[in-house]
């Protein structure tokens, strides 16, 4: 059930910081579908070596369907997706996106929303905040960034009513106290985290220490798959062997051989591309499969085989 792609034009590119650019995407041949705060799209990037599909949160106003806006941080250790967007894509270029999907929606029953962003993780919360301000929904945003490097939207978020937006510039030694943020919150409060893995873990740990139930924590963990060692994969049913390159995901290698698996997040979260395997060593990198399932299934969007044994998939 792969939704048909949408053709868009890059109508505007704006440098927000030395490493973050904002891209405005407008539809070519049809209206853009509506979306809810926290939604993401997959952007197809025809890099010279192969086509990458990277997921980006929509940061624009959900009420404005004249365009979608995303912001992209140039990743030094990236596989080329963010570099391609930063260095090759020009205003007027045509790209393909998937329709929006939401794996990070605000909980409608929360009485208070606590949004915690690190760096480029601010993007989904831009859409959150627009909608929450419009609907008068109680929330507070805590945004940690590095001044002069990842300070996107710091000015756009001000002025805000007292306490609604707090920013922390690491260059100035400003530190976010997660314990202080989570202490004394009402029972109906929910926490949302988007940012680097260490921020996510710190919030999870503090929340656990303070006795927050897991159901009140939400996070957007997906990122482009990390590179790894090259490995071989054998498709048992099709009797076919493929080589997966160091900076290529297993899902991408399968797609390059025209084996299409359903997928939404391409980051080990949504569970759509779960694939059974028969033998081989697996480096599980997802946040989806319970350990009990890891001996027979893997998430090819992020997880990898080992370089010294062939991974055999039940495909």
């Amino acid at each position: 059930m792969s939704p048909s792609p949408i053709q868009v034009t890059v109508s505007r590119i704006e440098s927000l910081t030395p490493v973050i650019k904002e891209f405005t995407l407008t539809a070519q041949d049809r209206a853009l579908p509506g979306f809810s705060p926290g939604s993401h799209i997959q952007l197809q990037l025809p890099t010279p070596s192969r086509t990458l599909k990277n997921a980006y949160s929509l940061l624009s106003d959900p009420a404005d369907l004249s365009c979608y806006r995303i912001a992209v941080r140039l990743q030094e250790s990236s596989r080329g997706g963010s570099r391609y967007l930063h260095e090759r894509v020009r205003e007027g270029d045509h790209l393909q996106i998937t329709p929006p999907a939401n794996l990070f929606a605000p909980s409608s029953r929360a009485q208070h929303h606590i949004l915690i962003a690190g760096g480029i993780g601010i993007t989904p919360f831009m859409a959150y905040r627009t909608e929450m301000l419009r609907q008068g929904i109680s929330h507070e945003l805590h945004y940690a960034y590095t001044g002069g490097l990842t300070h996107a939207y710091v000015e756009a978020l001000q002025p805000a009513p007292n306490g609604q937006v707090t920013t922390y510039d690491s260059r100035r030694g400003e530190r976010m106290s997660i314990e202080q943020i989570l202490s004394g919150q009402p029972l109906g409060a929910q926490v949302y985290i988007c940012g680097p893995e260490r921020l996510l873990q710190a919030v999870q740990q503090t929340a656990a220490d303070l006795g927050w139930p897991e159901a009140r924590l939400h996070w957007e963990a997906f990122a482009a798959p990390e590179p790894g060692q090259p490995f071989q994969v054998h498709l048992a049913r099709q009797d076919k062997t493929l080589a997966v390159g160091a900076d290529e995901s297993l899902l991408e290698a399968l797609e390059a051989s025209e084996i299409d698996l359903p997928n939404l997040c391409r980051g080990g979260v949504c569970g759509q591309c779960v694939t059974p395997y028969l033998s081989g060593q697996v480096e599980h990198r997802d946040n989806y499969l319970p350990p009990s399932d890891q001996s027979r299934a893997l998430m090819p969007c992020v997880s990898r085989g080992a370089c010294n044994s062939t991974l055999v998939l039940d495909l």
Partner: protein, 343 residues
Amino acid sequence: MPTTLKPIESYRNDFSFRNSPEAIKRFPFPFPEDQYMYSVNIEPATPGAPGSVYEHWFDIDEHYRSEVAERAQVLSRDPDRCLVMPHMQQAAWDTLEMLMTHLSQDYPQWFSLQRDGDQWLWINRALDLQQAFTFGDASSLPYEPLEYITRQIQGDFALLDQRENNLWMDAGMVTGPADWSLKFDAGMSFTEWHAPVPMAHQMGVFDRALKYLMNIQVDHPVRRLNWTMTINPRLDTSSETFHEWGHERSSVTAENLAKLVHLRVELQFLARLPRSNALMFSIRTYLISLEELVTQPQWACRLHRVLRDLPDELADYKGLSQYRPLVVEWLRQFDPEMAACSA
């Protein structure tokens, strides 16, 4: 052939509801095989053949005026059949937008929508209604948005909030349910409101269905058929009015069953509501008397086999047990007893 809307017929008292030969031909007969068992029979709701019930997202047929009048009657007696919890306001507006947009695109002869920013003009020529209103401002409509638009459409609607890895029945307009009640199920999770269904839990049907439904994407709706049987063409077989219709099951005789017993098919349609991220679950009900149904010989043959071989638990759950033997016996005359019905 364009649909002609019939004058108002009734789903109660004198039960004047009838299907025209055209309506019979497009009836969504729900059995793809000669026997029936549960399955997760969900498919992408891609546009179906012109004139079929699958052509558009929201099917308008010859019974439009009758169903609208029936809903108004139910609501005048029991306004609580429409319910919107406070956190479902945006889902209600999403629903109004989706219905108005699709109806005006798919049935321009009856419906039109003009939008100028948040100033909207809705025209329903079938009911001779015209309404200018401000999108997002409930005080500019005669009813709150979900009630306003669903008073002008066929089928029931449940709006499901998606949170905590489950779906929650937190809003809806349900005036023609097949033995359930929005008031009883309101606020329940998907897991809770399916608890009474026999057999399917053990088969893992609901766990798989829930995961599938939570992954429905904007602009990619899905659909499935469900079925039961109803005595008389009665749309409102709600749990809270059981005392009005439950006893009719014992009035079935060999002589009256062809007119009395109806196959009741639900075309269930599920779509992601874009702004609220809620899930719209619409239940479009089609009724056909056995007398009308047996005008299609292959349907008569197949229904005979399905009812004959249906497990007792399912017959009990669907409320058919009392009159099933009589119906099976009567349908037997339409089964040539060859290997398969649709030879």
